[in-house]
């Protein structure tokens, strides 16, 4: 690991000013991706600004037809949250299957989506549920948030404070975990919310999470699992690595979509 300066922020303002005054500052949320990245010397920030001391970034609340999750809420907290479990059980289930228990105890929703790992689970939930990512400056629809491989719409110094999920009528997530890393080789979240069906795919594409219109059309309003299974997804532009070819991933997209649809009921 390269050396860096470390600061524990006490407030959002504190965090933003510390990050922006640093030469090349990074926010540190749960660290479940950032610390392995630093260990591998794949990043060299001058400063780490730890967000774990900012209490107003933690917590879950429900208001009207949506659930809002603070950005520093851990996966374990989301998974065990009564609010999330009752309003959006698919999201609780997704959070409860991220990585392993130790990752879930420290990893946070904000950290996960800010990093936008192409194999992370949360981006699929954000897109399929049409979530809104709230930052210290603005509200960004999930559709505009994830812009590419490890890339998001976040600007330098912009801090995710919460994510708001509309409560779907039906939703479920199914993933095929990598047998070694337990990251998603392919994961698909399907949701039907207020007349709209969405299917968001993670793990499959080089450029991160995407919506599959073929799957969405096949699923229809009833989340037809057999129609989803019959969809033939093109392998073009899908990941091809030592764990799975792009063809295998393409196949997984329809199967996982179909399984998610079945689970959504």
């Amino acid at each position: 690991m390269y050396d860096f300066k470390y600061q524990l922020a006490n407030s959002q303002d504190d965090a933003v000013s510390a990050q922006s005054s640093a030469e090349d500052g990074s926010f540190l949320a749960g660290g479940m991706t950032l610390i392995p990245t630093l260990k591998q010397r794949l990043a060299q920030p001058s400063d780490l600004v730890d967000l774990s001391g900012i209490s107003d970034l933690i917590g879950v609340s429900a208001e009207g037809d949506s659930v809002t999750i603070g950005s520093m809420t851990t996966h374990a907290e989301v998974a065990s949250s009564e609010i999330v479990s009752s309003k959006i059980p698919a999201l609780a289930a997704l959070a409860g299957n991220i990585g392993d228990p130790q990752v879930r105890n420290r990893g946070t929703i904000g950290g996960s989506i800010a990093n936008n790992d192409p194999a992370a689970d949360y981006p699929a939930a954000c897109v399929a549920l049409n979530a809104t990512i709230i930052t210290n400056n603005r509200k960004i629809p999930a559709d505009n948030f994830f812009t590419g491989l490890f890339e998001t719409a976040l600007e330098d110094g912009e801090l995710i404070t919460a994510v708001t999920f509309p409560i779907p009528d039906k939703a479920a997530y199914a993933k095929f975990p990598n047998p070694a890393s337990r990251y998603a080789i392919v994961g698909v979240m399907v949701a039907h919310t207020g007349g709209e069906t969405r299917a968001a795919v993670t793990g499959a594409s080089d450029s991160g999470v995407f919506r599959s219109s073929e799957i969405e059309n096949a699923l229809g309003d009833n989340l037809d699992s057999s129609a989803a299974k019959a969809v033939s997804i093109s392998a073009d532009g899908l990941n091809n690595d030592i764990h799975a070819s792009s063809e295998y991933r393409a196949h997984l997209v329809s199967i996982m979509a179909s399984r998610a649809a079945t689970a959504a009921g």
Binding site: M1, Y2, D3, F4, K5, Y6, L8, L28, G31, M32, I35, P36, L38, K39, L48, D50, S52, A76, S80, G99, D100, P101, Q102, V103, N105, R106, A180, S181, R182
Partner: protein, 155 residues
């Protein structure tokens, strides 16, 4: 260098560390708590699992400075004098180890499981242990040990 203070196994400790020091390095090299092991460097093997504020965490994927003000417990802090923690005793009695290298992480992870799920099924145990690798046992006796340990902890 910043100073980090925390409680480790009930004792307050305070040291100057480089920010890049991992919690596992701090525990092993600064505090001499070598029961927490390093097996993989990439957060898979779980030999380094400790508890931070009562929750299991991989100490190879945490900076020591992130544990500032925390209660950290390691495998060395579980036993009460010469009385083993029920989960430790369960591993010993059920032969839940062969080489024993993964054992500290397994025990720490298992205790966290029982804290969140006091009556786990075999399936629950197997799912929970996804972050702990063992290469010796095929996990058979580890699962048995944890089921027995869970009962004993309720005991």
């Amino acid at each position: 260098m910043p100073t980090v203070s925390m409680t480790v196994n009930g004792e307050s400790v305070s040291s100057e560390v480089e920010p890049r020091t991992l919690l596992v390095q701090y525990l092993r090299e600064n505090l001499g708590l070598t029961g927490t092991h390093v097996g993989c460097d990439t957060s898979q093997c779980g030999a380094c699992v400790v508890h931070v504020n009562g929750k299991s965490a991989k100490s190879c994927t945490m900076l020591a400075v992130q544990a500032e003000g925390s209660e950290v417990s390691t495998i060395e802090g579980l036993a009460d004098g010469d009385t083993l923690h029920p989960m430790q005793e369960a591993f010993r009695e059920n032969h839940g180890l062969q080489c024993g290298f993964c054992t500290p992480g397994m025990v720490m992870s298992a205790i966290d499981l029982v804290q969140t799920n006091s009556d786990p099924s075999e399936h629950d145990v197997r799912e929970w242990l996804e972050g702990n690798l063992c290469r010796c046992t095929g996990y058979h006796n580890i699962v048995k040990s944890i089921l027995a340990g869970a009962k004993a902890m309720q005991g």
